[in-house]
């Protein structure tokens, strides 16, 4: 090279060309040199050996060691030992990798021919840190090992009827309302549980909600969810206006593939589909279902008289579009309706309780990465729930309208700190129109009544910030603060919250939470308050729990909690207006044990003890809360008899809920009706509730397509659980009204199209 450049004397142009060629050559040879390794190699071989270890000095078999930029290296054997020879010399990086461990890069100085012994230690991947980030009182689905609930488990839980909410009630701390999908948590009211779907609040994701002796069902399809996080207390500052619990659901941003699925059962039929474009640029889903109870009643019989029999329709879908590598927009819409007439005999009227509702929900959500460490989620939603019911003199038409806008920003400041902040505004419209009895005890047609035609609306603006801090792999702490402003009452609320977790050892974790929680009373309460003067109801949550988690086969949790309520709605005994003078408390223990034995058996036992007392609405002192269930036990098991056949059983038993007994009556001549005389509020209890449900699922191929057949028997022992008490005309005789959820058989067949 040097000889060519010195001996040759070209003209000026030639010199320029020569220089160019030489530069090209030098560049090319330089790049080749760089590719072959680094600055130095020698003809002398150097032997490098050592041992690769992991946590607790465990020997890693199959770890790979390589000198950067070369293929010189080796793989460790079962003793963690490696050995190789190289001609490389000088300062070199060696890269050490092993499945389940974080990559390690070390710089070494290789002196040609001088044998080297390098022992290496690898750290586990960060997975453990994610696991510990599950906060207190949370039951989640997802990809980490702390998963306690999966979509398949939801559809397989006997008695849950593939309903997300019913499935959740097999976990400690939550109970069904009237054996339906509405849930109460730790002795609170059902409306103290907030459901969030992709940033939107869902207030009526049910059919047959608040209907007499007909169980409500959820309209949420568990298969469309990529994440389920149910928190029965101590939840994050990102959730506002919820006193007891949060069910946070995240749907898939983009469908996972394309296909259709049809279902035909004794009580229902549905068709759903997903589509994902080639390249994954856009996708959509749809689902339509209809409840048809004719065949179901024909086989199981009717325990009540219906006119019409329960019927419902649902249709919904999503559309997702990928705006860029880190941006996605998704629109979601759903419509559902229901209609039922069920005969009921009350002291003053024996007739059909007729109910119908329709519900619309729409949501648009945008997710975008602002930079490598910052993600923005924004959403707007609108829902409208219109419910009518008639019974005796009562004719009610209520419309609830909700609109919400929300923006959340998550910023990963470092691998130890993450900041979450956001704002939201929620509009709540209430419209009630109808005729109501002047006296609650007389509802016969023609009874003295009054008309209501009222409209009210309110808004709530909220802001929050919280920081997720992980000082070490074994410890996290999440301080947060939120504030809300309620336009109708003109009141602010402030909620400082704190959550933490500490891993004592590999499988043992302690978690806790402490914080303020506020929820403004439902808008209908303000109609009975002087000048809308109702404060936000509040609760202070204190939670401490222990978890043993082997990351697979065994999960055990025990958690104690105490909640102190204030500003509950209470009736002023003088003017009968609502005030914020109510109070209450609840204390309890939740125990959860889940076991998975290979792929054969999955099951869990959950037990909850709770003591919930409130002075609320008409109560004059602390009395058991409406949903104070002292003991609640669920045992759920699922057994894979073969690869195709899965058998399941679930047993639930719980203390009966409180009720207010009638101790006598007086005849009111003007009304031609008896007026009941009540004992202390909630001083009586229903009998113990129990049910044993079983099901079987059979997976097979039909016409070359995936198919699943299900048979289920609910309430096998035909236990007559009490729905309510009613009375004869003068209240001298108490009559049990049993739940219609008696022994029932269900069969269904699903087919992938």
């Amino acid at each position: 090279m040097q000889r060519i450049s010195t001996n040759y004397k070209p003209p000026k142009e030639g010199l320029t060309l020569m220089k160019l060629l030489l530069i090209c050559f030098l560049c090319l040879s330089g790049s080749l040199y760089a590719q072959s390794g680094d600055s130095a190699t020698s003809s002398v071989l150097t032997k490098i050996s050592g041992i690769v270890k992991g946590d607790k000095d465990s020997l890693i078999n199959g770890a790979n060691i390589v000198i950067e930029g070369t293929i010189d290296g080796a793989t460790t054997d079962e003793k963690g030992f490696y050995e190789f020879e190289t001609v490389q010399t000088g300062s070199k990086n060696i890269i050490i990798t092993a499945i389940g461990y974080a990559e390690n890069i070390m710089m070494i100085d290789i002196e040609g021919g001088k044998e080297m012994n390098i022992n290496i230690k690898l750290k586990k991947d960060e997975v453990k840190t994610e696991e510990i980030l599950v906060t207190a009182s949370s039951y989640t689905s997802g990809t980490n090992a702390a998963v306690t609930l999966t979509p398949l488990e939801i559809v397989r839980i006997p008695g849950a009827d593939a309903d997300l909410y019913r499935a959740i009630t097999t976990f400690p701390g939550s109970n069904q309302v009237n054996e339906g999908s509405r849930i109460t948590v730790r002795g609170g009211d059902p409306d103290e549980v907030l459901t969030v779907l992709d940033l939107a609040s869902l207030y009526n994701p049910f059919i047959f909600d608040e209907t007499f002796n007909v169980s409500a069902y959820s309209t949420i399809n568990p298969w469309g969810l990529k994440g389920i996080n149910f928190t029965s207390g101590g939840f994050s500052a990102k959730y506002g206006n919820a006193l007891s619990a949060v069910l946070d659901l995240k749907s898939f941003d983009m469908p996972q593939g394309s296909g259709m699925f049809a279902w035909l059962g004794l009580a229902n039929a549905s068709l759903s589909g997903v589509y994902l474009s080639k390249g994954g640029q856009f996708g959509g889903t749809f689902s339509a279902s209809k409840i048809i109870l004719g065949p179901y009643f024909a086989i199981n019989g009717e325990y009540s008289e219906y006119s019409p029999i329960p019927q419902s329709n649902q249709i919904g879908g999503t559309f997702s579009y990928k705006l860029g590598t880190s941006s996605n927009i998704k629109a979601y819409a759903n419509y559902s309706d229901d209609k039922v007439g069920i005969r009921n005999a009350s002291p003053t009227y024996d007739g059909y309780y007729e109910s119908s509702s329709n519900s619309y929900f729409g949501n648009v959500k945008l997710i975008t990465g602002l930079d490598n460490n910052t993600v923005l989620n924004a959403g707007i939603s609108l829902s409208r729930y219109d419910r009518d019911y008639n019974y005796g003199v009562i004719e009610s038409d209520q419309i609830d309208t909700y609109a919400k806008g929300r923006v959340d920003i998550t910023k990963q400041i470092s691998n130890k700190i993450e900041l979450n902040t956001g704002v939201e505004y929620e509009y709540d419209g209430y419209d009630l129109n109808g005729i109501f009895p002047q006296y609650q005890y007389n509802i016969r047609p023609g009874a003295q009544s009054f008309g209501i035609d009222t409209t009210q609306s309110s808004g709530r603006a909220g802001i929050y910030a919280e920081t997720q801090i992980k000082p070490s792999d074994n410890f996290f702490i999440i301080p947060g603060l939120r504030s809300d402003y309620h336009t109708l009452s003109g009141n602010f609320s402030f909620d400082p919250r704190l959550s933490f977790g500490y891993r004592i050892s590999e499988n043992n974790i302690i978690r806790g939470a402490l914080g303020y929680y506020h929820q403004y009373p439902g808008i209908e309460n303000y109609l009975r308050a002087a000048e809308n003067d109702l404060d936000a109801q509040n609760a202070i949550h204190y939670i401490l729990g222990y978890e043993y988690n082997t990351g697979g086969p065994i999960l055990f949790r025990v958690e104690g909690y105490y909640k102190d309520y204030g500003n509950l709605v209470l009736t002023d005994p003088v003017n009968f207006l609502y005030t914020s003078e109510g109070e209450g408390n609840v204390k309890g223990v939740d125990v959860f044990f889940k076991a998975k034995i290979k792929n054969k058996f999955t099951g869990w036992i959950s037990y909850a003890y709770s003591d919930s007392k409130r002075k609320q609405y008409e109560a004059t002192q602390l009395v058991p809360a409406n949903y104070d269930i002292t003991h609640n036990l669920s045992v759920v098991g699922s057994f894979n008899a073969t690869d195709q056949l899965v058998l399941g059983a679930a047993f639930k038993v719980s203390t009966g809920k409180p009720y207010t007994p009638v101790t006598g009556s007086e005849f009111v001549k003007l009304q031609e009706a008896y007026k009941p005389i009540y004992a202390e509020i909630n001083s009586g209890r229903f009998p113990t509730y129990s049910t044993l449900d079983m099901n079987a699922q059979y997976i097979f191929s039909l016409f070359g397509k995936f198919a699943v057949g299900v048979i289920a028997v609910n309430n096998i022992f035909n236990k007559k659980n009490l729905y309510n008490y009613t009375y004869n005309a003068d209240y001298s005789q108490r009559i049990e009204v049993y739940s219609n959820n008696r022994r029932s058989f269900y069969a269904g067949l699903g087919l992938q199209l």
């Binding site: 070209p10 020569m18 060629l21 390589v66 793989t75 499945i99 398949l152 996972q256 097979f700």
Partner: protein
């Protein structure tokens, strides 16, 4: 001057080309060696050798040439390792290597989304998930279907794609639409396609032919009607002749044949 300049250019070109060629040889040599080791290790189902072969491919990544193909082979090694877990009924191993394989294969697909072999392997890896996370049934079905559709779209006549369908049918009970008889046409077609196949590059995957012989022999054995045992033996003999090191043919498939013959 012109001559001198031409000579110089030639020298430069020669040095440059030989440098590039040497570099390519390093890569190709390393790939061929690693693939040979992987094939042998897979045939023997030897965990230690499989890990070594996997490590060789990992090190080849350092050459930064065709990382999509190197990652494909790492995922293939992961798949073979997961199958050793399957044989020893060890869900932890199946899960560890299946997940590693899927993650690595995704890297390969991201770099080269038009390589049909990747989707065939992705489908096979997703099958494994049934063994440790049945609860994600919907996700598994979607992922398997998506991989199947892409493999079929890119290369419907790929013998390994057809082979996988045959294997799937072989294991699926007759009551569910599968069975040995249903598997035979796909296995036969796969063998036919293997015999005609010429890969675009000698570095491209070549696994599967021994499996086709073995599975076809087993399917013929299971079919249990006249003439099947003879043809099954033919397949075994032919397979053993072509793949003398294949433990799958000489031990597993032959074992099934002998069991059927002793009945």
């Amino acid at each position: 001057m012109k001559n001198k300049l031409t000579k110089l250019l030639i020298i430069i070109m020669m040095i440059t080309v030989s440098g590039i060629a040497n570099s390519r040889d390093d890569f190709e040599d390393a790939m061929m060696k690693a693939r040979k080791n992987l094939t042998e290790a897979s045939e023997k189902s030897d965990v230690a050798l499989l890990k070594k072969a996997r490590g060789q491919f990992e090190r080849i990544l350092q050459l930064k040439k065709d990382p999509w193909l190197v990652n494909y082979y790492i995922a293939l090694a992961d798949y073979s390792l997961s199958m050793t877990g399957s044989a020893s009924n060890d869900p932890k191993t199946i899960k560890q290597y299946t997940e590693s394989g899927m993650a690595t294969l995704q890297k390969s697909i991201d770099l080269n989304p038009e390589f049909s072999e990747s989707y065939i392997l992705m489908k096979a890896l997703n099958f494994n998930r049934w063994q440790y996370e049945q609860e994600k049934m919907q996700e598994i079905i979607s992922a398997t279907d998506a991989a199947d559709k892409e493999a079929s779209r890119l290369e419907p006549e790929n013998p390994r794609y057809i082979l996988l369908n045959g294997i799937s049918n072989y294991w699926m009970p007759e009551a569910f639409g599968g069975g040995a008889s249903k598997a035979i046409p796909d296995l036969e077609k796969s063998l036919e396609l293997f015999s005609k196949r010429k890969e675009k590059s000698e570095l491209y995957p070549e696994w599967g032919k021994d499996l086709a012989y073995g599975y076809l022999a087993m399917a013929l054995t299971k079919r249990n009607d006249d003439g099947d045992m003879t043809k099954a033996k033919e397949m075994l003999d032919e397979g053993m002749k072509l793949f003398p090191g294949s433990g799958f043919i000489s031990e597993y498939a032959m074992g099934e044949y002998k069991k059927a013959g002793s009945k």
